[in-house]
Amino acid sequence: MSPVHFIAIPLFAAFLIPLVGKVSKNLVKLIPGIVFLYLSYVAITLFPIGIHKPIVEIIAGFKAPFGISLYYGPLAAFLTTMITLIGFVIWLYSYKFIIREPIEKYYMLFMMLITGSTGIVLTGDVFNLFVFLEITAIAAYSLTAFLRDKDGAEAAFKYLLIGSFSSTFVLLAIVLLYANVHTLNMADIATKISSVPLTTRIFILILFLMGLGIESEMFPLNGWAPDAYSQAPSPVGAVFGGIVVKASIYALMRLIYLMFEFQSVMHFLVIMGVITMLIAEMSAMRQQQIKRMLAFSSIGQMGLVIIAFGVGTEPSVRAALFQMFNHALIKSLLFFAAGYLVFHSGSKKISALDGLGHDKPITSFFFAFGALAIIGLPPFSGFWSKLYVLLSVANSGLFAAVALILFSSVVEAIYYLRVVSRLYFNTEVATDVRRTPVSGLVAMGILTLVILFVGFYPNLVLHWMTPAANELLNKAAYIKAGLFH
């Protein structure tokens, strides 16, 4: 068993799907499910190994630092498992949600996106990182425009515009990096980076920050996010929030922790995180469309994650990972629920949701559940991660950041609860004879159960988070494993 399956299988499936699509549409729908089942099998097999000792997979026989390698350490194990889980749930949800042709293209792009994301997480090579990033990005642009409507195209074009900038910056950075250290293997770069002049390093860092910052929704580089999230089909919103952004922030943090571990960078990250969070939460407060609101909320949560990464202590990194995990779960749940709420009410506006809680109680319940969880209320999982973030931030003495996080939490509470109270407590307006399909409900149910379970028993996830955090922080171990496996 090899981690390469994580990349290869979805990629293979992506190419298989159009072919199968010629034969049977129903079969197409099943393929991603099979892929995810297989991937979870892979994840279950590899996870116990990877969490203790990193598996380094050499592609095509070239030894590091020359060949392309995959690095399946604790962090990657954790992230791939998370991506598999979320991907599976998204497939389950899409199964009935995506009724619009061409279905096979949707699943193809979805599989490409999974390929790209797992690739970002697994790769040990900077240029490969770029390639996977581009695979993800192109799939994401196309998925954004999947509905082929006016708004989708507009959103996709904006995304593409900014995304091209992002890829340009990343590519530039890689080029400059290569020009200076003449290697592309991340572990190798990390050993050699200290010989590079500081100005160059900072310049490269800035380019990376710009490039990956765009994908990880850092302010002010996140103009694409609300549009793309809101115009893409709902499961795609969940993909963005749960997979793409997580993968790219992983990439950013991996690079920063490996190559640019300056105190000033960390401070900069905290400041950017705070600004991102505040502006996003405040903008979310005044949104009229539910999915835009969720998008802004997503940005805000990423700000929180960036803050926690920026603090850079072991507990804070762990808290950041935990927050990432919870956010992926909860935001997917919210996008799922919002998807059907929008579907039933026939409008993207929040005001159209009045009284839908009576008509569609289960979907609304899931939304309310997700809202409570993402605000960070006990006994849901969001509570613990937020608490851990706060405690770790405070332990570094950044009390202003703590206060601002809590302030934005209040704002967050306001806009989420506004929607929840609209759902349940306005006079009945919306009725829709269409029923929410079972597959969607099962997908949401799975997420709900996981959220509740983690809320009551956070040790389950936290237990695996500690080695992951240590891996990210322990540069020497990474280099050792990456080069001299």
């Binding site: 581009e134 195209a153 340009t168 590519l171 530039l172 290569y178």
Partner: protein, 113 residues
């Protein structure tokens, strides 16, 4: 050196096109120009004066007499990616034109706040 300067000029030109031009097609072209600039830069980095192609075609040819093969490989990949992006972009432009009957980016801003 000329390559570096040219590539920077290209990147800046592309940026100018993206940021200032209102026509969607021109913006896409700008993106392509930026891409070209970056590619040129990559090639320039791997270039060694008076060196041969990185193929051990003749005996006695050492690695330091060849241009760096890696950037070339990278450029190839990158060009392909750039092409893909351009393709997607153009298809989106077509879609936008279908819907909006205009190519002015200032008029395509329905999604805001």
């Amino acid at each position: 050196m000329i390559y570096f300067i040219t590539s920077v000029v290209l990147i800046l030109t592309g940026m100018y096109a993206v940021l200032v031009k209102k026509n969607l097609i021109k913006i896409v072209i700008g993106l392509s120009i930026i891409d070209s600039g970056v590619h040129l830069l990559m090639i320039a980095i791997g270039y060694v004066k008076n060196a041969t192609a990185p193929i051990f075609s003749k005996p006695g040819l050492t690695a330091d007499k060849m241009v760096d093969p890696v950037p070339q490989a990278l450029v190839l990949t990158s060009i392909v990616i750039g092409l893909a992006v351009t393709a997607v972009a153009l298809s989106l432009v077509i879609r936008l034109y279908d819907h909006h009957k205009t190519l002015d980016i200032n008029k395509i801003r329905k999604l805001k706040w």
